[in-house]
């Protein structure tokens, strides 16, 4: 486990994940207090990624439970393997008649069967689902309950029970207690407000879109070999686009995609035509693209004006830079 907040930060850095103090503190506390973390924030800011890198940094297995509408206990916790049970009874038919041999009354036969029924309701016939696996695992695991907001409120209530005691009760077998309390991450896109009861049991972490410096750092981390000026241009534009009123705001992963796309196209700075051609990497609706284009022309004209103003002063450094680059 982690020693301190700084240790968390450097460990995650090692996994190529740029964190803020805030994130690192929450992760540290989650491992120390053994409390689940509810991670909220817009889509594509690296909520799921955070869980992955924490698992990576600790070198533990990550068990993922993807939530969706209609997810129920059978899919999340355990299920009796009905067909296997049935198959066994079919195959053991002879054995069963042996057991029943010599039983004179119906009552006696029923008693004999009753003595054996543990066989059919034993752990042998349980199919463990992610929650059960995380709890019964021999080693500490990281349990990621992804997009918990997509699940139904009933499932949320059921999660509460599991997350508060880390026990699971299977009526036929008994209560199964966690051997190792897993580190739990829940992520939510806020499609639905989670109940206060669930929130109370969790530490809360809100990850927003990163600020300019952080996003630059992320880009440098994730897209090695990219030119610094291009990075700054990309991030500046994306940050401005995010402020527009869009149907779908571009996420970090889309910024990364765009940076990679521009790298592939061998771009070393953002030109108007190039942006227009590749805009669809970050924006997925026609209406959004149109809106962004007006913003874009504004930005470009501003930049040009700024450059003109700086030109006489900065003429030497830029020329040096150019000669170095080419």
């Amino acid at each position: 486990m982690f020693e301190s907040v700084e240790a968390v930060q450097s460990a995650l850095e090692g996994q190529k994940y740029v964190t803020t103090k805030n994130i690192a503190t929450v992760v540290y506390l989650a491992t120390k207090l053994q409390k689940p973390v509810l991670v909220e924030g817009p889509a594509g800011v690296g909520k799921t990624e955070l869980a992955k890198v924490v698992a990576g940094a600790l070198g533990i297995e990550m068990i993922r439970l993807q939530c969706y509408e209609g997810l129920d206990e059978a899919k999340a916790l355990y299920e009796w393997e009905y067909s296997k049970q049935l198959l066994y009874t079919q195959m053991l038919r002879d054995k069963i008649s042996q057991v029943l041999e010599g039983a004179d009354t119906l009552k006696e036969a029923a008693n004999r069967i009753a003595q054996e029924d543990d066989i059919f309701f034993s752990e042998r016939f349980i199919v463990p689902r992610p929650l059960m696996r995380a709890i019964t695992s021999d080693k500490t695991t990281l349990l990621l309950i992804d997009e918990v907001d997509k699940s139904d409120p009933e499932f949320e209530a059921f999660l509460l029970e599991v997350l508060s005691d880390y026990t699971v009760s299977v009526p036929e077998v008994g209560t199964i207690r966690a051997r190792n309390i897993p580190i739990v991450f829940l992520t939510s896109n806020n499609a639905r407000e989670m109940t206060d009861a669930l929130k109370r049991r969790c530490l809360h972490l809100y990850i927003d879109f990163p600020d300019l410096e952080t996003e630059v750092a992320i880009l440098n981390q994730k897209v090695p070999g990219i030119e610094q000026r291009l990075v700054e241009d990309i991030v500046e534009l994306v940050q401005r686009v995010r402020n527009l009123d869009l149907k779908k705001t571009p996420s970090i992963s889309e910024t990364l995609d765009w940076a990679r796309a521009l790298m592939t196209l061998n771009a070393d700075s953002l030109e108007k035509d190039l942006i227009e051609q590749t805009m669809n990497v970050i924006l997925k609706h026609q209406g959004d693209i149109e809106k962004a284009q007006t913003e874009l022309s504004k930005l470009l004209s501003e930049k040009a004006a700024a450059q003109r103003a700086q030109e006489p002063v900065q003429s030497t450094p830029t020329s040096i830079k150019k000669s170095v680059l080419h």
Binding site: S4, N22, T25, V26, L29
Partner: protein
């Protein structure tokens, strides 16, 4: 420390952030794990264990700064200013001299006087806070009490006594033969520090008032906004409204999702199971369940966009737009005298342009005529009655001011017979229904719910009825 945190929790609660006792306890546990030398970490640790709604984060941030640092800094600021105001005195040298002289003297100073003399800022801060607690400063409620509470805190501190002590000390020093110039400097210094102290106490009181009243203005504004009628809203108000509508719509969605879930799983289907398992020699390996048909609510909305209700219909269209994102089967119409369908505009366009387009008649009707509800209903009856069935909820938004035209209430009667519900949202108060050219009373028998809705509070009440 724990006492401070509990106090902070109370202030958060006052500002409308929900913090439970369990969460406060969690924050104690969290702080046990932390070293407290990093302010960022301290702040993050408290936040993640106490504040669980992303909307509350900005409030938390503001209150945190107010509570955990503000006074600390302002006291130091005051003292620094006071010392700078003295011009260039070598304070350290003066202090050293003082120290050596005091060693030979037998003086017994109170805590406060000592702290003032040595300018021990931590001690001073401690003393002010202590005095504040003892005077019950958290009871402060308005601006007028600042003077009163400041005096109380100073009394509690024993400020008058302390300054007397310090004066006596200066006299004693003079008797001991301290240099007159030095003495003057010392007097100046002591006076400046005491002034700074008084100012700091006043600031402390003001800050305390800020803390207690932090959300007062904001809350006042929101309350009045909720009561405000839609007729007189500015752009900014509209924006806030939209947020609330989004929240309402979200709430609606939750209820719908719960209902759908309940319907999903049916009973065990014996016939289907037997048929299905014939290939297994009749051994039921695969169990089949009856699938119940999902009850997808349908919705038809008729919205009056005549000039008399222009501001309300803008807001209502916004509400319809949000509904459209939730209900898959929704059809929306706008009318003045003619009636036109705007479902597609609402589905394909973004909210602002869709609303503007709809208000302009959606390219299907002329919005600059006089309202004629009878005619609009007749058109609906003639062309669209077939789209209604017993799962459809019809929502009509309008003031039923018919300009003395034929109301043709029988059209609405037929609509009411075919649909599951008819809900009428009227921006006018029930007292005005049926007076003048309003024909609301004729339509009233053919509706299930007819509500006055002019402001947000009424709308939110109505929303609960929409899903029932």
């Amino acid at each position: 420390m724990q006492k401070k945190i509990v106090e902070f929790t109370n202030i958060l609660r006052k500002a409308g952030v929900r913090v439970s006792v369990a969460e406060t306890l969690d924050s104690f546990l969290a702080l046990d794990e932390m070293t407290l030398d990093h302010r960022d970490q301290f702040k993050a640790a408290l936040r993640c264990s106490m504040v669980k709604h992303s909307d509350d984060i900005s409030t938390y941030d503001r209150l945190f700064d107010l509570f955990w640092s503000g006074f600390h800094d302002s006291l130091r600021e005051q003292i620094k200013e006071a010392l700078q105001g003295l011009g260039d005195i070598d304070i350290e040298a003066l202090m050293e001299q003082l120290q050596s002289m005091l060693q030979n003297m037998d003086v017994d100073l109170s805590e406060l006087a000592q702290a003032l003399l040595t300018i021990d800022q931590n001690q001073l801060e401690q003393l002010i806070r202590q005095a504040g607690d003892e005077t019950g400063i958290e009871r402060i409620q308005n601006m007028l009490q600042i003077g009163f509470f400041s005096r109380r805190v100073l009394e509690q501190l024993g400020m008058t006594g302390a300054s007397q002590e310090l004066e006596n000390l200066v006299e004693q020093l003079r008797e001991q033969g301290m240099d007159e110039g030095e003495l003057e400097k010392l007097q100046g210094l002591l006076k400046a520090v005491q002034d700074a102290m008084r100012k700091a106490v006043r600031q402390y009181t003001e800050r305390e008032l800020d803390k207690q009243n932090h959300d007062y203005i904001e809350r006042f504004r929101q309350e009045s906004l909720q009561e405000k009628s839609f007729y007189n809203l500015t752009e900014e108000d509209m924006r806030k409204m939209r947020e609330v509508v989004d929240r309402l719509a979200q709430k609606l969605k939750n209820v719908v999702s719960i209902r759908r879930k309940r319907e999903r799983k049916g009973k065990f289907d014996l016939k289907h199971t037997m048929r299905r398992n014939m290939s297994h020699d009749g051994v039921p390996f695969e169990l089949m369940f009856k699938r119940r048909r999902k009850d997808r609510p349908k919705m038809v909305i008729l919205c009056d966009i005549s000039s008399s209700v222009a501001n309300v219909s803008r807001f209502m269209l916004q509400f319809i737009y949000s509904l459209g994102e939730i209900f898959t089967k929704i059809r929306s119409y706008v009318f003045v005298a003619e009636l036109g369908e705007v479902t597609e505009i609402f589905r394909d366009r973004d909210i602002y342009s869709a609303i503007d387009e709809a208000l302009d008649g959606g390219g299907v009707i002329n919005p600059y005529t006089r309202s004629n509800f009878g005619m609009a209903f007749h058109v609906f009856w003639r062309d669209h009655l077939a789209t209604l069935d017993n799962r459809t909820t019809v929502v009509i938004i309008g003031d039923a001011r018919n300009n003395y035209n034929d109301p043709r209430a029988w059209c609405l009667r037929d609509v009411h017979r075919k649909a599951k519900n008819v809900i009428w949202i009227n921006p006018e108060a029930p007292g005005a229904w049926g007076f003048g050219d309003s024909v609301m009373d004729e339509y009233l028998p053919h509706t299930d719910v007819a509500e006055e809705c002019r402001n947000l509070r009424q709308l939110s009440k109505l929303v609960d009825q929409l899903v029932l």
